[in-house]
Symmetry: D2
Subunit: 159 residues, 4 copies
């Protein structure tokens, strides 16, 4: 029996040597990431972390981060985790995601982790975790499961 949830990250091999640059370029074009004050804190093959701070413009009615804003950062983390493994001529689109909110998104800062569970030529499946961070602790506040599609040569989509 396995004592833990999840899989230790398999050693994914990127198909595109400058995958980091591609992720950073695409991220910089997401207006939503600017609005969130989000930044890429880690970009590795099959794995992307995004961090952001609390801000009143991101809240729901109780002053916690809005579930949709948590989802926005998690979706980008998962999407770019998948994108690190896609070929140079591919753009990435989210087909669907599901998020479970485990605890109120209360905290000074937040880290959203996106991880590829199953890469594929067309379909890639990812999982995400969101943590609320304070000076001395971190707390799991949300989990995501998402499905991505690699599209190529469509409507001039890039990244």
């Amino acid at each position: 029996m396995t004592a833990q949830i999840g899989v230790t990250g398999p050693a994914f091999e990127p198909r595109c040597a400058h995958y980091q640059e591609r992720v950073r370029d695409s991220f910089a074009r997401q207006g939503a990431m600017h609005t969130l004050g989000a930044r890429l804190s880690a970009v590795m093959p099959g794995s992307v972390d995004i961090t952001l701070g609390w801000a009143s413009g991101l809240t729901q009615q109780h002053g916690f981060l809005h579930a949709g804003m948590v989802a926005t950062a998690l979706d980008s983390a998962c999407g770019y985790a998948g994108f690190t493994l896609m070929s140079e001529d591919s753009a990435v689109l989210t087909i669907e995601f599901k998020i479970n909110l485990l605890a109120p998104a209360q905290g000074e800062r937040f880290r959203m982790e996106g991880r590829v569970i199953k890469p594929g030529r067309t379909i890639t499946v990812c999982e995400g975790r969101a943590y609320a961070l304070d000076a001395s602790s971190e707390k799991l506040i949300a989990t995501m499961g998402s499905t991505l599609m690699a599209v190529s040569g469509r409507d001039g989509l890039q990244g």
Copy 2:
């Protein structure tokens, strides 16, 4: 055999006479709705519509609305649809939601519809639809299924 998906809205009975006011007050406290430039365009028992315009601060890398921003508006539409049917001492929290992105969120304006499928004392299940609107047409771009919890007397949460 039923020719259509979905249920015609049953006639839900709100438990709180001033449910509209409660929804509007809570909505006004969501910083995220200000950021989205969203407004409540309809509030009925078990049914809430939210509309918003395209803005560059809400986009993903191709200039479409970010899936997470579509989810943010849909989550509020579903959450407030559920909230219209909750008792006066209840606050509403989202337990989970899933969103399917059917088409790029391209358009001038967007309407997100939240509908209660099954109300309950503790658990309420909703469905949402997002439409992209142009001068002459509207297009279904996303569907959501969400689960809400009514909480009362917890940590001074309101609305």
Copy 3:
């Protein structure tokens, strides 16, 4: 504002003239459908209904239909709804589905409805509804959202 959830079924055009036969042949090869005692009660473009009776071999611990068995019939209903619109050389695979259980699956008989929301060359999105039926009434007990993939020429998969 739209008074109802859902979309009235658009008039889908099947790509394969004998789509009904293809669905019925494939359904007959599903061992799981035999185990459920399930039968196809309607097959239309983008729309499939499956009916089955209560049986003790399908239950969870309280004697209701197991959520997974409800999901099994709904997944087949959705999958075949999508399959009615696929080209002749395509096989259908489920990428993911989500189910919300709205009420205990108690009843003499059950009808599961699968409907295509958005057909596509590669990806098709469906929604499902499960109803418990008694002599005089029917009750919505579950909703499903699912994503299908059309695969062709892979490993000799058919149907």
Copy 4:
């Protein structure tokens, strides 16, 4: 940055000393588990494994395990993982689950793992993994995220 998906299982404390017996009794009452030929291969606090063999009565049209049958075993694994942590007067119901099918469910035997991610008095969130097992290897074929509700004193529900 965390190198792996998932959390190492926290040391959960069961509220009921004979939690194993309660799980085994309830499992034995699930007609669906008999139909699947499933057995409980591990029951620990917050963690349950179920194993089963391939059988033609569980298949979809290509001879793989039907996605719904994979979901049935995963839902029981997750549900009982949650049930190990519930109080003696609680019964467990599934509110919703989502499953991603990562690879065809091809194999001689299958192991479904259910793990509690976040226990709660009313709501418990779990994750599941399904593996296909052959003589020398195992392969991740599906992931599940599920939400459970503990209900007490309702309609004489037990287990």
